[in-house]
Structures are given as C-alpha cells and as structure tokens.
C-alpha cells in the first residue's frame, strides 16, 4: 500500500501513552552461517573414445 496523499506527515514515534517500563536482556546474536566451501568444478564428461578401426 502506498502512502497517504500529499501534505501528510507520517511519524514513527506515534505509539500511544506509556504503560510500563521494562529492563530486558541483550539478545544473543544469531551466528552467521559460514558459506559452503566451494567445490572444485567436476571435469566435463569424457567423450567415448572412437572405436579403432580394426586392421584389415
């Protein structure tokens, strides 16, 4: 949804009257997953060797 029309003021701090004051602990930081090690590119599929012409 886009915002209201022109000549409007939108303020983030409009959150009503205070109800209570709390003291809360710091969250544990979520560990950032390590990127997967890059695998060496697999070699291209080998073409089948041409059959050797049998000698006459």
């Amino acid at each position: 949804m886009l915002g209201p029309g022109p000549n409007t003021i939108s303020v983030m701090g409009d959150i009503g009257k205070p109800i209570r004051e709390t003291e809360r602990p710091e969250p544990v930081r979520t560990p950032v997953p390590e990127p997967e090690p890059q695998r060496a590119p697999s070699p291209p599929p080998r073409e089948p060797e041409p059959l050797k012409a049998r000698g006459a």
Partner: protein
C-alpha cells in the same frame, strides 16, 4: 516508574528511510523522507548517521534539556510498533519496513515501544513503484549491508518471533 525486569528481549516492527544501504530514522512529509528532524533542529550541520551495521548504539535524546533515552515523558528512544500492519504503507520511495529486537530500558506504550537499544533483524521484501533512484532495490541493498534477511510479510513476523517477545497488539493504520 521503576523498570520491571523481563527475561526476554522485545521484538517490534518499524520503518526507516533507506538510502544507499543505510537505514535512517526520520519522518515522512508529503511523500518525502526527512531524516531525524529533532537532530536537524538542534545541530543542523551534523551529518545524519544511519543505524550502525556492525555494532549496537544507545539511543540519544536530542531535546535541549536532554536525558537518558528512552524517557517516559519524551519521544526519545528507538521506536517500533508491536505488530506489523497487514498492508504496511510506503509513504515515500525511501521507505523500508522491517523487524527489530530491542533491549535495555524500554518504555512500553499502547501500540509500540521506545528502547535504549535496538537492532534490525530482517527487512520486508516490498518496493515502492516510484523508486527510480535506487530502482526498487533499497531493501535488498540494505539487507546485504546489515547482513540480515529480506522476507515476505508472514515470514518476517515468524522470523521476528524467534528473537524475542512479540506483543499481540493492533497497530494503528
């Protein structure tokens, strides 16, 4: 009012003005983002700083007779709503919504809170159609800068719930 100890951090939802990957506090006036007008009035030459990407910063009060933020009878502190609107409005092309986790002293109000510390958790994957300057990639660029995920609305709410208490209070439209 003495602060009541609570065992969990508090989770909320808010919007920022987003520029070049930085998330800025401020207001939206007539479809344009105005960063932190309180700081602009007190110290007009001070550079506006985005929310830090690599450390936590305590909220400050920019009132002339300042106090430690958040203060009950002021509007200072990192603010957020308890819940995300079903259709989060985008009042300007710079607007980006996301989830935050908050801790330390928190003034809990009717529909949201103001905290001494807060950190972005994830951003909402939504873009303003008139975002010509950053081609609708603001949230994506900011998510990369803050090393946080870019999520759809339902996923954002669920993800936030993993990081602290989510209060079930309706946010005003």
């Amino acid at each position: 009012m003495s602060a009541e100890p609570v065992a969990q951090p508090l989770v909320g939802f808010r919007r920022w003005g987003c520029k070049r990957g930085g998330l800025y506090s401020g207001i939206f006036v007539s479809g344009r983002f105005v960063p932190n007008p309180a700081l602009g009035m007190v110290a007009p030459r001070t550079a506006q700083l985005p929310w830090p990407t690599d450390h936590d910063r305590a909220a400050k009060c920019f009132a002339l007779r300042g106090h430690e933020a958040p203060y009950r009878d002021c509007n200072c502190g990192w603010a957020a709503y308890y819940s995300l609107p079903e259709e989060p409005e985008l009042p300007a092309p710079e607007c980006v919504w996301g989830a935050v986790v908050a801790w330390g002293t928190i003034v809990e109000c009717e529909t949201g809170f103001r905290a001494r510390f807060a950190r972005p958790l994830a951003l909402l994957d939504r873009k303003h159609p008139d975002d010509i300057r950053e081609q609708g990639r603001r949230a994506t660029i900011a998510a990369e800068a803050y090393a946080i995920p870019l999520l759809e609305l339902d996923e954002l709410i669920a993800y936030a719930g993993w990081h602290g208490e989510v209060r079930d209070v309706r946010t005003p439209p």
